[in-house]
């Protein structure tokens, strides 16, 4: 039982990283209905910006995170304007292929500029502290990522439900044409969405670096796909769903490794994706909506 709770904690903190990335994924998908394959790679760029901010500028981890978020917000806007916007009225397959192109572009431009070797995140940027409660084990980093995932999810949810921009986002995600008729500047709203989504990815990137100690140009690929699985699991386009999906996926992977066969952990994650797509493609929190004809 104790071991089970320990595994649950492990699962939650792994899931928190997925959740953070999934939040941005789900926002972008919600608004332009595009799987932004590059999202995981924006996280990677964020991790690098944080890394250089700490090592070259000597900032602390919080300033580094802020830097990373700002840089990636701008990067997100640029990516949208350059690569996605011209394709807004194209076929879905064209947009998807572009997204894959952007993803590879970010990965290999970083390999080209910085080399494929990994970088070590300075360990003293965020010293680990370990807490024991009656046989259970938790580090300050666990608490930090879980808390940030929940905190950011709540902020984001409030932002979307309460603010003017948030409401405009919802309107755009429901019907772009109608929203623009209502006087909403659709381009502006899409830019804001990309900025927020990318900033969240950057935050996740810095946390990833702090948490696991190393970063490399291809680090975004797998977490990116996993985060997408998390977003689908929770119901894509739904903010609390992304977080729940992230945590669920983290726990699932932990349980497969901890009680099943660690060799098939990733297979289980993709298996769940295919399963959820079959049984309830709209995800756990999603509602069905028909296509307009």
């Amino acid at each position: 039982m104790l071991n089970f709770i320990q595994q649950l904690i492990n699962g939650l903190s792994l899931g928190a990283i997925y959740a953070l990335i999934a939040l941005g994924y789900t926002m972008v998908y919600g608004i332009i209905k595009l799987i932004n394959f590059a999202h995981g790679d924006i996280m990677m760029v964020g991790a690098y910006v944080g890394f250089f901010s700490i090592t070259l500028l000597g900032t602390n981890v919080w300033v580094a995170m802020l830097f990373a978020m700002l840089t990636c917000a701008v990067l997100g806007i640029i990516i949208e304007k350059v690569a996605y916007k011209p394709l807004r009225n194209s076929t879905r397959i064209a947009a998807l292929i572009t997204a894959i192109g952007v993803s590879f572009f970010l990965e290999y431009i970083m390999v080209f500029l910085l080399g494929a070797t990994q970088r070590v995140y300075p360990a003293d940027a965020f010293p680990t502290q370990t807490y024991h409660f009656s046989g259970l084990l938790m580090t300050n980093k666990d608490i930090f990522v879980i808390a940030s995932a929940v905190f950011l999810m709540i902020i984001l949810q409030l932002f979307i439900k309460k603010t003017r921009t948030g409401k405009a986002m919802r309107a755009v995600s429901l019907d772009q044409d109608a929203a623009s008729l209502m006087g909403i500047n659709v381009n502006h709203i899409i830019s804001v969405t990309f900025a927020i989504g990318s900033a969240l990815a950057a935050a996740a990137g810095v946390m990833y670096g702090v948490f696991y100690g190393t970063i490399n140009p291809l680090m975004g690929m797998v977490p990116g796909i996993k985060a997408f699985v998390a977003a689908v699991l929770g119901g894509i386009g739904i903010i609390p769903g992304a977080m729940a999906g992230g945590f669920l996926l983290g726990i699932l992977e932990t349980m497969v490794s901890g009680y099943g066969n660690s060799l098939f952990r990733d297979a289980a994650a993709y298996g769940v994706l295919i399963l959820i797509l079959l049984i309830k493609p709209t995800g756990l929190f999603g509602e069905k909506s028909g296509e307009k004809i």
């Binding site: 509602e287 909506s289 028909g290 004809i293």
Partner: protein
């Protein structure tokens, strides 16, 4: 059995809202029926229910005596219902001829292997389809446009091509969603004649949604009026024209339009 289509208690809800509720309709064989109503009344939803795009929550749809409610669209098409779309949905990057050929799909009489190995049967089948498709294009005066991409055709011709494509599926019931939208009066007149002629020639029943009242009144033998997802009235065109409820429903819309400044 004199009715080609019979709809009973048809209901469809979206997220708790009734888009269509308790609709009852029938169409007799060979009849030309219109479905009218203000914007957002649920007309296209009824069409989508009949053609299987949506599944009804309640109610039955009988086509030629057979229940088709809940069948998938391609099955319903094979039963003999064909349609056009409010905002034209041609296969834009294909030629006019290919658009029609695709709709002849259920007449393909050669197997996949025949196609791969190019047997004689394949060539015969293709020739037949090509010939039929060309005939149909000629009927709709599109013969010389056969190799044009659908997206390059002028608006009116796209509408005609869509009807031709629908007829290629050999329907018993043709469903037209605002066929005259965006046409000038001259074109509308030609269309009216065309629909009349097509019905006789192909031995069809026709159900159409239309906003253009002159077309509806001149063409349809019977009308249904839909408002807020419910049948408000039905009857002969003259009866509908003078029905106070209908006038109110339409007037209401006009008034809102004026108020909202559109």
């Amino acid at each position: 059995m004199n009715n080609i289509l019979e709809i009973n208690h048809l209901t469809k809800t979206f997220g708790g809202l009734n888009a269509v509720s308790d609709v009852n309709m029938y169409i007799e064989k060979g009849e030309l029926v219109g479905l009218i109503g203000p914007n957002g009344a649920g007309k296209t939803t009824v069409f989508n229910l009949i053609t299987g795009v949506y599944r009804p929550n309640e109610g039955s749809i009988l086509f030629d005596g057979k229940s088709i409610g809940g069948l998938s669209p391609h099955r319903i098409c094979r039963e003999g219902i064909a349609r056009t779309f409010q905002n034209i949905r041609l296969f834009k990057n294909l030629t006019a001829l290919d658009n029609v050929k695709i709709a002849f799909h259920k007449e393909v009489n050669y197997s996949l292997l025949s196609a791969v190995f190019r047997t004689n049967r394949f060539y015969q089948g293709e020739d037949q389809i090509e010939q039929k498709a060309l005939e149909l294009l000629e009927i709709f005066q599109l013969g010389d446009k056969r190799n044009e991409l659908a997206s390059n055709l002028p608006y009116g011709e796209q509408r005609r091509l869509e009807i031709a494509r629908a007829l290629a599926t050999d329907p018993k019931l043709l469903i037209l969603d605002e066929p005259a939208a965006g046409m000038n009066p001259q074109e509308t007149n030609a269309l009216t004649e065309l629909i009349h002629w097509v019905r006789g020639q192909f031995n069809l029943s026709v159900l159409l949604i239309e906003h253009d009242m002159s077309l509806v009144m001149g063409l349809c033998e019977r009308l249904y009026v839909l408002n807020y997802g419910q049948i408000l009235a039905s009857g002969l065109p003259e009866e509908i024209r003078n029905n106070p409820k209908v006038i109110e429903a339409y007037l209401g819309e006009e008034v809102t339009k004026v108020v909202s400044g559109s």
